[in-house]
């Protein structure tokens, strides 16, 4: 996803001289083409995320479109107040880019995981929050953000779900993509972990359970219409995120549906439950450890449907 972001940005900057990419001294090697091609539109601000975010606001108030770039929770939690006060309160045209959403950085350790960012960022007024699920969505969200005005957050995972884009399909920010139809259960995922949802749906269909699979690439604003339809047309909703269940995608869905008076037969939030991702291991290993992988999702569905849990192959 990181490469899709950089490739798209590099493709678009010639038509957008107002764009500047600020890096918090990250992006070794991967930013080279961008930097070489557009040195006036790049700034390595050093390992100083608070300053990066304040600078971003100042540059944006002068008419620039700013992308701040760092990894894990460095571009968000380290400088949250600058994002709140300097960026969001001024409606500054700043796009915060996180490389390594969720547990992408696996064995590097929990300090480099971003597992509360969606909840925290989406609580800020005036910001849009994107967590693309595949490479096409990552590129298209980037394309959208280059022209969009105002604060936004773009969370990029290392893993990406398999491509599901249809020929001629247009990316619609704020609208959920239905990547598979089904009426028994809805699996709604944000981020690359959509790939696990698709695998779970594949396994469930073997047992005669047809899942509707939703790519919730925009966590804010949330597409209530598609979720309402899922609540009424399917047997329940499972939200899936590589993130704390508190206030993230699952929290957002619960809030939106409850407030709209729409009650799915069940809502289960798959995600981290009051725990740090402190176990050491690859992203895939950690998904297994924390019950976020396809097997865990399928077993969640079996349990909710009251089906005896089979050994998952």
């Amino acid at each position: 996803m990181r490469d899709a972001f950089i490739r798209t940005l590099t493709e678009l900057v010639p038509q957008h001289p107002e764009v500047i990419l600020l890096s918090g001294d990250l992006g070794f090697a991967v930013l080279n083409d961008y930097i070489d091609g557009f040195p006036r539109q790049f700034l390595n601000v050093g390992i100083a995320e608070q300053n990066m975010s304040g600078l971003a606001a100042g540059l944006a108030l002068e008419g620039h479109t700013i992308f701040t770039y760092s990894i894990g929770s460095f571009p968000t939690l380290r400088c949250l107040e600058q994002i709140r006060n300097d960026v969001c309160y001024h409606g500054a045209n700043v796009k915060i880019v996180c490389v390594g959403g969720g547990m992408s950085y696996g064995p590097v350790g929990f300090s480099h995981h971003a597992t509360e960012d969606l909840a925290i960022l989406r609580s800020l007024p005036g910001i849009q929050v994107f967590s693309p699920c595949d490479l096409w969505e990552a590129a298209e969200a980037t394309r959208y953000l280059v022209s969009h005005r105002g604060p936004a957050y773009l969370r990029l995972d290392k893993s990406a779900a398999p491509a599901t884009v249809q020929p001629g399909e247009a990316f619609r920010p704020g609208r959920i993509r239905t990547v598979r139809e089904g009426s028994d259960v809805t699996l709604a995922a944000a981020g690359g972990i959509l790939g696990e949802a698709i695998l779970a749906a594949d396994a469930l269909v073997q047992r005669g359970i047809f899942c509707r699979v939703l790519s919730v690439h925009t966590v804010k604003p949330l597409d209530l219409d598609t979720l309402t339809a899922a609540a009424s047309e399917t047997g329940g909703i499972v939200s899936i995120e590589e993130h704390a269940v508190d206030g993230g995608l699952g929290g957002a869905i619960a809030e939106a549906l409850m407030e709209a008076g729409v009650f799915p037969r069940f809502l289960v939030r798959v995600g981290l439950r009051n725990t740090f991702s402190s176990v050491v291991g690859s992203q895939q290993y950690l998904r297994q450890v924390y019950s976020l992988d396809a097997a865990a999702i399928a077993q969640t569905v079996f349990a909710k449907l009251g089906i005896a849990v089979p050994a998952f192959a």
Binding site: G54, L55, A56, Q82
Partner: protein, 274 residues
């Protein structure tokens, strides 16, 4: 320039203090000591240094001003109203329900470029503005007024590193060095000395000035950048609560609200000054 050339800014400083005193009295606002220590700096900036036009508060060619010590908002509002950015009569809505004049400075008020309040934010924003001006070779300057207390914040020094590294000679940081922070003297909390040396070591061209001497302030601020290719830091030595004898150099008047006999006495002191 003769001292008489500064009659205008002296009168402006006095009016800033009197407005701020009435505003904090009426609304129950704090930080009068921090407003008074910076009133002369604001008066010289808005009376003679900043190229700003009340008729075009968003003009792209204006000098930018970031009040990083946002708690002195009452002083900036007063300066802007006196310069005609909005009616003086609006000042007394400060702190009142439904007003745009929040205690910490708000960009909803005409002439205010940036909202601040949490300390250590302003110099980064100002650096971004100055970098943007450099990119387009625009001649305007960016002035940022900091408190000494917010030099405790690491983010202030992140910005200081950045501005020097990028040679932001169009950026001027003014530190209101009144030596008293929130609840104690600076020297008892986190010593900043050798203060000028710190800024110089970070790559800034530094001057020090009596922050209540209008001629010295105007001379210094009129000669920025202090060195080619460097951001300028003006350390303004000030007195917290300056202008009202019983408020001067006290920790108490960082937060205390001027009320009753104290308000009357303070106003009387300000109004008998020449």
């Amino acid at each position: 320039m003769s001292a008489s050339s500064f009659n205008g800014t002296h009168k402006l400083a006095l009016r800033i203090r009197a407005h701020a005193l009435r505003m904090t009295n009426a609304g129950g606002g704090a930080h009068i000591g921090a407003v008074f220590s910076s009133a002369d700096i604001l008066a010289v900036l808005y009376g003679s240094v900043l190229r700003v036009d009340p008729a075009a508060p968003k003009s792209p060619v204006r000098d930018r001003f970031v009040l990083s010590k946002g708690h002195a908002g009452a002083g900036l509002y007063a300066a802007l109203a006196e310069r005609g950015f909005f009616p003086v009569g609006q000042l007394l809505t400060h702190y009142q329900n439904g007003s745009d004049l929040s205690g910490h400075v708000s960009h909803k008020v005409p002439g205010v470029d940036v909202s601040t309040g949490s300390l250590g934010h302003g110099l980064s924003i100002a650096s971004g503005m100055a970098y943007a001006a450099k990119l387009k070779s625009a001649p305007h300057r960016v002035f940022c007024l900091l408190s000494d207390g917010e030099c405790d914040e690491g983010s202030t020094w992140e910005a200081a590193l950045f501005a020097a590294h990028h040679g932001l000679s169009n950026l001027v940081a003014i530190v209101d060095y009144n030596r008293i922070q929130g609840i104690a003297p600076v020297a008892d909390v986190l010593e900043l000395e050798p203060f000028a040396d710190k800024w110089a070591a970070f790559g800034w061209a530094v001057r020090e000035v009596d922050g209540h001497d209008h001629e010295a302030l105007a001379t210094a601020l009129g000669s920025v950048p202090f060195a080619p290719g460097k951001p300028s830091c003006l350390i303004a030595h000030t007195t917290k609560g300056k202008g009202v004898s019983f408020m001067e150099n006290t920790v108490l008047w960082h937060y205390r609200i001027p009320r009753g006999a104290e308000f009357d006495a303070a106003l009387a002191e300000l109004e008998v000054q020449p």
